[in-house]
Symmetry: C2
Subunit: 144 residues, 2 copies
């Protein structure tokens, strides 16, 4: 998504365009896929030293509400990402890395809708060990 489109989305929700919001959007546009509020703060504070964590949390809320970002929970924290497409997030149990993987099937929410629920979003979190950690041979074997 281009910066101009992101700005338009904020305006659509009557969010003002502030320098702090632009710095956060610049961060997410250069970001490595998945990041936390702390990641955003640590990076943006370098170019905007007066910004605070409270502001970062406010901005992430506004940016998510505007449909620029999406979020999910893993490892006890909230992760944000710009990939709005349907996909699963693979979390490595060893190094913590998060990587996008495809979901082979459609209609994951179908059963919920069949039960009369209104489905807003579906999160798929896959946990396991990534190639790199596997090649290092550090996979804890379950002994029983």
């Amino acid at each position: 998504m281009a910066l101009t489109e992101q700005v338009e989305k904020l305006k659509k929700y009557n969010f003002k365009i502030t320098p702090q919001r632009l710095r956060v959007i610049e961060y997410i546009n250069e970001s490595p896929g998945h990041f936390t509020a702390e990641d955003v703060y640590k990076s943006v504070v370098k170019v905007e030293p007066s910004i605070t964590v409270a502001t970062v949390y406010n901005i992430l809320r506004a940016v998510t509400m505007s449909g620029i970002l999406t979020s999910f929970e893993a490892n006890g924290t909230t992760w944000y990402e710009t990939n709005l497409e349907k996909h699963a997030n693979f979390v490595c149990l060893s190094c913590g890395k998060i990587e996008d993987v495809e979901i082979g099937c459609n209609d994951l929410g179908k059963s919920a809708e069949a039960k009369g629920f209104k489905v807003n979003n579906v999160d798929v979190i896959i946990r396991g060990y990534c190639r790199e950690c596997l090649s290092k041979g550090l996979i804890p074997e379950i002994t029983n």
Copy 2:
């Protein structure tokens, strides 16, 4: 799962059978599907007043390691459940209720395995509004 089988599973991992562990297992056997560590503590402390939160956390770890429980994250906390079958957890954005729903398709982890990852488990969290909350007409409409 019957209590005797649960006890066998603990023994298999060399976990001792203590009154506290039995009280926790009794709780989960009568539990409403999904519960937190705090739920367990608040209930078990009534029949075992000396139990502490530290013990509950230790026991939940042992019980999960033994394959009696499984857990997932939602709404910023860890939820435990006895349903070890493949299913999705529906979380109501209004009342917070969690309910099991079926997953229509198999092999959600297939793409991750195709990428060379070892998949340990897959969590599917569906967020939306339950029937009861919908019938109360309290669904926040997104206005744009």
